[in-house]
Symmetry: C2
Subunit: 224 residues, 2 copies
DNA sequence: TCAATAGGTAATTTCAAAAATATATGATGA
DNA sequence: TCATCATATATTTTTGAAATTACCTATTGA
């Protein structure tokens, strides 16, 4: 019997990932009131099931709940954006140093592969094709995740993932596309990682993150 | 009308804090199977309400849920313990540096006050009175939290709190009491913070955390 | 004796409706 | 006109039970 993966997946789980994705990719905008009945109709689930996953997103900091007045999508602000970026910097730089120290050849292979996929898509983007934003962002995540995957701490990777997704939401909201700057930084990151130059790699990463924040804040996409 | 705080508090919220506390303080031991019906009777709540807060604890990493086979309290291991301690070290050292840089006189006041309460209780503990472990641990948290309270990032404080509680769980499980070593380190931490010596403060903090981990692992309290 | 399967039991997951709470509407009195 | 209070509506919170899935036991056949 072919035990197809996901056959055991609960519908609450599927709806959870769906709503989570809708928040991160801005289809549920910041501050949006999340009325249970409306969501129940929209996502075709019962209210009790919805409340379960809403409570998850609450702990993740993607939605807020005030007393008995229901849920809404976490609002955005320039301050929060900077805090999240600083958190990513702290976590990812630390993980990157560890990963560069502990990574083996198989790690290098994963990094090279992930960068190849990302670079290919970035070329398309530079050519003007903006149709695959979600795939691009997934490849971006896969590359950064591959880089830190040998840090040796599941706790660190989990915390980083949570922060990264919030970072991603701000990027999407601000519709960030910094020309070929990001693509060049990705190449530099790859080069430094393969040379096992942790100082250079973290320096590029810090610039990568800070420039992105400065770019979006200057563009005024976030009403502080 | 006296709007007493907590009057608006939902029963799901109360039960959440109760179960969370029961996990952290070991009254619900690691690996414990959490049968819905049993919990429903024990905590006097409906199953749906329970599932809401169980989903929260799931995201927090205090319980695990495997497929459709229900929930159980997150197991412990020496590896996880070291990862959590390393995370606390990373987050708290960074926050401490920032807080020492930005903290004002009011911050100093909070730190001194928190240390006074903690030191008083530690004196009782050294005298042999082990009855107030929970209060002691709360004061310990309040002191460390006061130290980093001026780091300027809510995101950092939130992430730190989550990790600190998991760290606390391991301390409780291992029944840690390192004589007066911890109390002395708290005094050194206070002194370095007031002198605004970030290097000295983080050095003490790192020792504080690492010694605690080494002590408990050597004692064999955790079956790896 | 062992593996495989079928049936029954126990658990989780999902739902729809009742209870509790908050918000909006309109009437009353100063 | 404005604030206050009572009423009605809308929304959230909680519940108890139905539907689904996993687990255990025993029977069958080799």
């Amino acid at each position: 019997m072919l035990d197809q993966p996901g056959s055991t997946e609960t519908i609450g789980e599927k709806t959870y990932r769906r709503i989570r994705s809708d928040i991160i990719f801005g289809r549920l905008p910041p501050g949006q009131k999340l009325r249970l009945e409306r969501l129940s109709a929209q996502y075709e689930t019962s209210i009790a099931t919805l409340r379960e996953l809403l409570n998850r997103l609450l702990v993740e900091g993607l939605i807020v709940a005030e007393g008995q007045r229901g849920f809404e999508v976490m609002p955005v602000s320039a301050e929060r954006w900077q805090e999240i970026a600083a958190m990513r910097e702290l976590l990812e730089c630390h993980a990157l140093r560890q990963s560069i120290e502990y990574g083996d050849v198989e790690w290098e292979g994963r990094v090279v592969a992930a960068h190849h996929k990302l670079a290919t898509l970035e070329k398309q983007l530079l050519a003007g094709d903006r149709s695959q934003t979600e795939t691009w962002k997934r490849y971006d995540w896969e590359f950064h995740h591959a880089l830190i995957s040998c840090c040796g701490s599941k706790a660190l990777l989990d915390t980083h993932s949570a922060i990264f997704d919030k970072y991603l939401r701000y990027q999407i909201i601000a519709v960030v596309f910094r020309g070929d700057a990001a693509a060049r930084e990705h190449r530099e990151l790859l080069k430094a990682a393969l040379k096992r130059d942790a100082d250079a790699a973290t320096a590029v990463l810090v610039k990568h993150i800070r420039d992105c924040v400065q770019y979006t804040i200057k563009s005024g996409a976030l009403a502080s």
